[in-house]
Symmetry: C2
Subunit: 165 residues, 2 copies
Amino acid sequence: MEYLEGKNKFIQAWGTLGSNWGINKAMAQIHALLLLATEPLSAEQIMEELQISRGNANMNLRALMDWGIVKKEFKVGERKEFFSTSKDVWELAKQVSRERRRREIEPILSILKEVQGVSGENKKEVEEFKKVTAELFDFSQKVDNTLVKFTNSDQNWFFKLLLKI
Amino acid sequence: MEYLEGKNKFIQAWGTLGSNWGINKAMAQIHALLLLATEPLSAEQIMEELQISRGNANMNLRALMDWGIVKKEFKVGERKEFFSTSKDVWELAKQVSRERRRREIEPILSILKEVQGVSGENKKEVEEFKKVTAELFDFSQKVDNTLVKFTNSDQNWFFKLLLKI
DNA sequence: AATAAGTTTCAATAATATTTGAAAGTATAG
DNA sequence: CTATACTTTCAAATATTATTGAAACTTATT
């Protein structure tokens, strides 16, 4: 397979994967492009390679920076900004976990806690509600704890551990 | 907080959580409703409670059944179909992992493997490409293995294990 | 201070995904 | 067999989300 074909295939696949996990296609594709780049890329280069507009590139680069997985860089003598991402897959996974934990697990935990105190006429329904939400709370908390450990772990502690089983 | 308020809050939150993870809102909300129900619900009841159309209810119930997390049930003397979901959060998590593994990890693994064999003029680029995709392949395979263990584990083996650390 | 190079914003537009509802399909009961 | 109760399908409508592009803004250079 030709390099260019492989590259496009990979970028395409990364975009699709992102979409399935609630990350917009352009954002995932920019990330894929940066993963493959041998040096930081300018907004122009990204626009050009992915055939997207300046506004789109800018917004998604910002989103990637918000996620903490893309960094702005400057080159001496150049006024333009350049962008790069870490090639360390392990670091990437940890950063994504960290953000998703903050953005999704924490809010759901807080809601589950909040709704625990419901009251009402129908005893059976209320009890079922409390039971289910309590179990979800418990489970979510376990996931949360696991992610905290994971995101703070050095190396691939996690997988090494699993190998021992 | 009144039961109804809590219920709505939970259903709403479950829908939002779903959206963030690439699952459509109605699908997640139907699931939330079934989680809280004290007995299997008919399509009518679901349509009524969530204020959605018959077609919508039907399609998303089918999708939930495809995911293996909702089951059709029949009541004696009733011609209608009823739907229920397992209240076991652990089982639910395993089933979702199983499906996502099949639907997303396996395809990406196959693409990563496929693009490994690229060739091209620019040695530096090609090498970087192979390096990055090889690392992603390795990582994805580890995740895949972990999920296999997870989805086959009894009880909360996983979390119990983590407690030991 | 004026110009140039580059970045950001955001209303308008386009693309995508979801939802509806009515018609077609199926199965059960009489 | 056929009327009835219910389910499924899917084209069209709607809602949501992503993208564009040009104007506004910012910063650096002369």
